[in-house]
Amino acid sequence: MCDFLFSSFTQTVEHGFPNQPSALAYDPKLQLMAIGTKSGAIKIYGAPGVEMTGLHKDTAAVTQIHFLYGQGRILSLLDDNTIHLWEIVQRENRSHLVEVHSFNLPGRPGIESTSATRVTVMLLKLSCDLLALGTEGGGVHFLELVLFFFKTLGHLQYIPEEYKCGKSLGPVESLQQHPQDSDKILIGYSRGLVVLWDLNSRHVDNLFLGKQQLESLVWERSGNSFVSSHSDGGYMVWAVSSSNPCTHDPISSTIPYGPFPCKAVNKILWRTTESGSPLVLFSGGMPRASYGDRHCLTILQDSSHVTLDFTSRVIDFFTIHCTDKDKEFDDPSALVVLLEEELVVIDLQMAGWPTVPAPYLAPLHSSAITCSCHISNVPPKLWERVISAGQQQCPLQNYENWPLCGGKNLAADPKPKELLLTGHEDGTVRFWDASGVSLKPLYKLSTANIFQTDGDHNDSLTQAGEEEWPPFRKVGCFDPYSDDPRLAIQKISVCKYSGKLVVAGTAGQVIVLVLSDEKSDHMIDVATVDLLQDREGFTWKGHDRLPPKSGSVVFAPGFQPVVLVQCMPPAAVTAVTLHAEWNLIAFGTSHGFGLFDYHRRSPVLARCTLHPNDSLAMEGPLSRVKSLKKSLRQSFRRIRKSRVSGKKRVQEANAQLAEHDAEVTPVQRRIEPRSADDSLSGVVRCLCFADTFLRDGTHHGPTMWAGTNSGSVYAYALDVPSQEKFSEQSVEALLGKEIQLMHRAPVVSIAVLDGRGNPLPEPYEVSRDLAKAPDMQGSHSVLIVSEEQFKVFMLPKVSAKTKFKLTAHEGCRVRKVALSNFTSVSSEEYSENALVCLTNLGDIHVFSVPALRPQVRYDCIRKEDISGIASCVFTKTGQGFYLISPSEYERFSLSARVITEPLCRVDVERPHDLSNSGKKYHGFHEIFSSFQH
C-alpha cells in the first residue's frame, strides 16, 4: 500500500461543547468570544467555522480571560496565579492561537501567608496599556503592559477613615473602568465599600459606603451612576457626583425576588436603550427557600420580566451592544450566557427575547450519549429531507442572525455531506451535520413517545404546579435526567438511500423507522421475538420490556416508526443491522439473535446463542454488582472483560494495600485459555448481511452472518423473494455454516469481500448506479475480526486464507474496527481499502485488506480513557470521532486526503509586535511604593 494514502495521524478539531467551562470573554471590536475551561483550554469562536483552540501547558483552571481590545490578544488568569498572553497569529494564511508569554504572580495557592496576593479580579484598560489586579487581601496592583512586559506600577491598599472598624475590606470583588474617563476606575471590596480611584492624580475621587456584601459592579454608560449587586439578592444604583466625595446611600435599592431571603446576585449588567428604560440583566438572586436550587438569569425592562431557567450553572454572561463612544445608548442586541453545560444566546431586540440557535458549541450531551453512527456521502435527497424535517421541529434554524461574526471562514463548503447520529440515554437520536468544522444539530428523533413511561404522568403534574412568579422560562436543552433508562439507544443502523433507520435500545426494543415528509397518525405494528427459544432453566431477572402505547400515535414529519420488535428476554440490544433492499433487519442481544421481515411484519429466524452454563446472561443490568462480585471470585480476568472500571478499582485498592503491607498478595492475573462456558459468551457482537457464496461456489445469494462473544460465527443462507413477490412469499433462512474460532475471542466484526478483495457495496448502491458492482466472478472471502485476531476465510469452503494475530504479537485487543477507503492525495481515481482498528491501549492500527499486512500505527487515545475508546466511531473515508469529555467529540483523520479542520482567518491590527521582543521581566517591580492610610 502506498504511503501517500495516509497522513500522519492528526487530531483535527473538537466538536461539541467544552467540558467544564470556567471563563468567558468577548471582544466587541473583533466580535470574537473566548471560553476558558477547567482543564486549561482556551477556545475562540467567531462566525460559524471560525474556531481556534489553545491549551495551557499546565492543566490549571482558567479563571478569567480578557481580550486586549481589538488586538487579537488574550490574557488568561489561571487558578495557579499565573497570567498568560495568547496571540492570534497568521500561519500559512490562516489563524492560529498561540501562547506568547506567561507571567508568574507571587502567591501561589495553598500557601497561607501569600493568599493575600492571590488575584481575584483583573481589569484591562480599554487602551490596553494598564492591567489592574485586585487581590484577596484587598490590594490592587497596577501593571504596565508596554511591549507586553509586565511592570508593576503600583499597589494600592486603602481603607478610608470613615470605614475603619477593625476589619479588613475583604477581597477586591470588582474593578470597572469609567466608561467616559479612562483614568478612573471603580474598585469594589467584598465588604461593600466602593472606591472611585483616579489613576493620574493617584487619589480617591469618591467613596461609596455600601453596607451589603458586594458581588459585582457595573457602570451606567454615561458614567453618572453605577450599579452594585449584593449577596442578599439585591442591587443598588449609586449616583456619582464630583460634589459629594463620600456617598452613604444609593439612589435606589431593590431586592427583586424578596421579601424572603434570597441568594446572591452574582453578576449584574445595566444597559441603556434608546427606547427608554434600561435593561437589567442579572444572574442569581432567587428566593433561597423556594427556588434556591435553580440556575437563573433575569432580564428586566420596565414591566417585562423574564426569569431564564437553566438546567446548569451560569458561568458568565455578556451582552453584545453598541460600544461606539459617540452613541448615547448601549442598545444591546443579544445576550450570550455561558452555562456549565451549554451556551445560550438570547435575541434582545426581538419581542419576547427568543433564543437564537447556536451554529456551534452544540451540547452533544444534552442527554448522555450512548452510541453513535456516522454516515458519509449522504445523498442530497436524504440530506434535504432531514433538514426540512429538522426545520419543522425548530423553525429558527438559520444562522444568519448569529450575533458573533468575527473572522472569516476560509473552508470551502464541504461537498460530501456527512451525518453523525448520536443515540442518547433518553431514547432520542440526534442528527448532526458533521461535514464541516462545527457540528450543527439538524434533527432530533425521539423514540420515547411510542412507549408508556412513568415520565408521561409526571410532566403534566409539574406543569400544573408551576407558579406564576417568578416568570420562569425554561431555556436550553441540556437535560441529563432520563425518565427511564430502558429507553437508552444502544445501536443504530441506517440505509441512506431509502431513508430507513433502525434504532435499538436497552430494553430489547428494535424500531424500524421510515423517513416521511408528511405528518402521520398511525398505529405501530408490534412483534415479539423470543430469543431463548423455550430453553429451559433460564429465568430473566432483569428489567421488563417497555410497554408500547396502544392506539395510534401522531408523528411529525421526519423518521416515523412503523414496526417495533421486542426481544424476549428484554436484554439490551448488542448488535443491529438493516438491509433495506431485502426488507430485513437483524438484531442480537446477550441471548441470541433474530431476523425480521419488516415488510411482511413477520419474524424469519430466532436463534439462541446462550451457553448452558452461562448464568450471568440472565441477570440483566440491575444485578450487575452482584455479578461483579461473583466473577471476582471466579477470576480477575473476567472482571477485566466485563467491567473495566471495576478492575481498576480493585487494582488501585490492591496497589494501596501493597504500599501499606508488602505481605499482601499483589494484583495477579490468571493465565488460562477461554473456555466455552465463560460468562456472557452468548452475547451477539456483530451482524452483517451480504450477497455472497455460502453454499457453493457458483450460486450466490443473500446471507446473514452473526458473531458472538465466544468466537462463534453463524452464517445463514437467506431465501429472499424478488421485489414483485415480496408480499406473497416469505423470507426463509437456512443455517449454512457454523464457525467456532479456536481462540474463542469475541467476534467484533464480519465483512464479506468480493472477488477483488473489496468490501461489498451497501444495499441500493449498485442498483442506483452509485457504486461499482462487486466482482461476483472471483471467489469471495469473509473477513472475521475478533478481539484478538483478523482472519480472512475463502468462501464458500470457509478455509483460512490469511490472518493476523494482533494480541499475540502486540499485546493489545481490538476495541473498534472499520473498513475504510483511503483515496490517494495525488489522484482521486486511486483508492485502497484498509482495516482500521482501535485497540484497548488507545492506539490505531491500519492493515491492508485482504492481505492483513500492518501498515501504520498511531497513538490516539490515552489507554486509561475507557469511555473515549468505547465512544470511537470511524468514517468510511478514514476519519473518526471519539468523546474527549461527555460533551465533546475529538475528530481525527488517518487519511491524507480527507481532513476536516478549522480553516479561518481573523485579521487584526496591532500597535506592537510582541512575539519578537527578547527581554523578560519576572515578578513585580514596584515603581512607586504602596500606600496605605
Binding site: V529, T665, R669, E738, H743
Partner: protein, 381 residues
C-alpha cells in the same frame, strides 16, 4: 526428576554388546558405541537378525535401574547405547501383542489419543491382571512441555513451551507485577518486570516442573514483555495459550543447563528436562543441544489454530413459516462434516458432538419437543 547421571567418558568402551530377546529366542551382536547410527537402521538390523522382516516390533531395553524403557526414536536409541555398560539388553515384542504395562515405572494416566486408546483396548492378553496404570507408547504421547532454544539462550534463562492441546487440564498459573534488578551501563537498576505469582496445583504449568513461583517472565512467544503492562502480558499469554512459549529467568538458578565453555555444538547438556507427564528419562548423554530441543514439533497451523467449521445440512429447514408452529421437516439430514479434522479428545468432543446433535435434532424438533442445543426456532408473536 532431574537427577544427574553423568557417565564418565573413560568408562565408555568402543563396542556395545547387544543381547536381544524376541519371544523365546535370543540374538547377540555388537554395535560401535561411537557410531550407533540411526534408529530406523537399528530397527532394520533387529528385524534382520531375528529374521522377522515384516513384523511390527516394539523395542524395549533394560536401563541401569532395571526399568524397561522403550526405544522408538533416535534419541532414546542413542541414550540406550550410551547407557549400556557394556551390555545392552533388548526385549522385542510384536506390536499387536505388546504388553504396555511393563513399560515405565512412574507414570500418570492421561486422556488417550484414539490410537493409543485403541492400542490399549485391543490388547489381546485378557488373562493378565489389569495393571494399575496404563501407559501408551512414547511415540503416541503428546508432549506437554519442553525446554527449547537451549543453545541460543543465556544459561540463566529458560524457554519453556507448554502444549495445551485443548485438554482439560488448566494451564494453571498466575502472573503479577514486580521489579527486578538489571545490570545496565549506569550500574544496577531496578526495573519493573512480570513474575509468576502462583501455580495451580495439578495444573499443566505445575506438573512440568519447569516454571515456578517468582520466575521472571522475559518473553512470550518471542516477544519481549519489558515495557508492557500486566494486562498486556496477560492478553498475550491468553492469545498464545494454545502454544505458549515463555522465556523465564528462574528464581531458582541451581537447575540451569550447564554448558561447557568450549562452545560450539559440543556444549554438554546435563539436564534435558523434557517431561512427558511426569515420565522422564533419567540419565545423561552427550549430544548437541539442538537434539534436546525439539522432539516434538507440532505443525503450528493445524495443531493450534484450526477453527471448527460445521457445515449445516442442506436439506434441513431450520426455520418454519412464520407464525406457524414448527413442523417436522421430512428430509433426513446427513451427519455434519467437520472440514478440518479435529482431535476428538473428550473436551472438544463434547462440544463438537453436542453441536452435531443439535443440528440433527433440528429437523424433528416439532415432534421431539425441546433440545438445549437445537438451532431451529419458533417465533411467538
Amino acid at each position: 526428576m532431574n537427577k544427574n547421571h553423568r557417565v564418565p567418558s573413560n568408562r565408555t568402551l568402543s563396542a556395545v554388546e547387544v543381547k536381544s530377546k524376541f519371544g523365546a529366542e535370543f540374538r547377540r551382536f555388537s554395535l560401535d558405541r561411537s557410531k550407533p547410527g540411526r534408529f530406523d537402521e537399528f530397527y532394520g538390523l533387529l528385524q534382520h537378525v531375528h529374521r522377522i522382516p515384516n513384523v511390527d516390533l516394539l523395542v524395549g531395553y533394560a536401563d541401569v535401574h532395571g526399568d524397561l524403557l522403550p526405544i522408538n526414536n533416535d534419541d532414546n536409541y542413542h541414550k540406550a547405547i550410551s547407557m549400556a555398560a557394556p551390555l545392552l539388553r533388548l526385549f522385542l515384542q510384536r506390536k499387536e501383542e505388546a504388553d504396555y504395562s511393563a513399560f515405565g515405572t512412574d507414570t500418570v494416566t492421561r486422556k488417550k489419543t484414539p490410537a493409543a486408546l485403541a492400542a490399549v483396548l485391543l490388547r489381546p492378553d485378557a488373562n493378565k491382571k489389569k495393571p494399575p496404570i496404563i501407559i501408551s507408547l512414547p511415540k503416541d504421547f503428546r508432549p506437554v512441555s519442553s525446554i527449547i532454544d537451549v543453545d541460543i539462550l543465556p544459561e540463566t534463562h529458560r524457554r519453556v513451551r507448554l502444549y495445551k492441546h485443548g485438554q482439560e487440564k488448566p494451564l494453571g498459573f498466575y502472573i503479577r507485577d514486580g521489579s527486578s534488578v538489571r545490570v545496565t551501563p549506569q550500574g544496577l537498576e531496578k526495573v519493573p518486570g512480570i513474575f509468576i505469582s502462583r501455580m495451580v496445583p495439578g495444573g499443566l504449568a505445575d506438573s512440568t516442573g519447569l516454571l515456578a513461583v517468582n520466575d521472571e517472565v522475559l518473553e512470550v512467544n518471542g516477544i519481549e514483555v519489558s515495557g508492557k503492562s500486566l494486562d498486556q502480558v496477560t492478553d498475550m499469554m491468553i492469545a498464545n495459550s494454545h502454544n505458549l512459549i515463555i522465556t523465564v529467568k528462574p528464581a531458582n538458578q541451581r537447575n540451569n543447563v550447564v554448558r561447557s565453555s568450549g562452545g560450539g555444538s559440543s556444549g554438554r547438556s546435563t539436564d534435558s528436562n523434557t517431561s512427558f507427564y511426569g515420565y522422564s528419562t533419567p540419565g545423561s548423554m552427550v549430544m548437541t543441544p539442538s537434539h534436546i530441543i525439539q522432539n516434538y514439533e507440532p505443525d503450528e497451523e493445524s495443531e493450534e489454530e484450526e477453527d471448527l467449521v460445521i457445515e449445516a445440512d442442506r436439506g434441513a429447514k431450520l426455520f418454519p413459516q412464520a407464525g406457524a408452529r414448527a413442523t417436522a421437516s421430512t428430509s433426513m439430514p446427513a451427519l455434519p462434516r467437520y472440514e478440518p479434522h479435529l482431535d476428538l479428545r473428550p473436551s472438544n468432543g463434547t462440544m463438537a458432538s453436542s453441536v452435531s446433535v443439535g443440528s440433527l435434532n433440528a429437523c424433528d424438533r416439532g415432534l421431539e419437543g425441546r433440545n438445549l442445543e437445537e438451532e431451529g426456532t419458533v417465533i411467538t408473536l
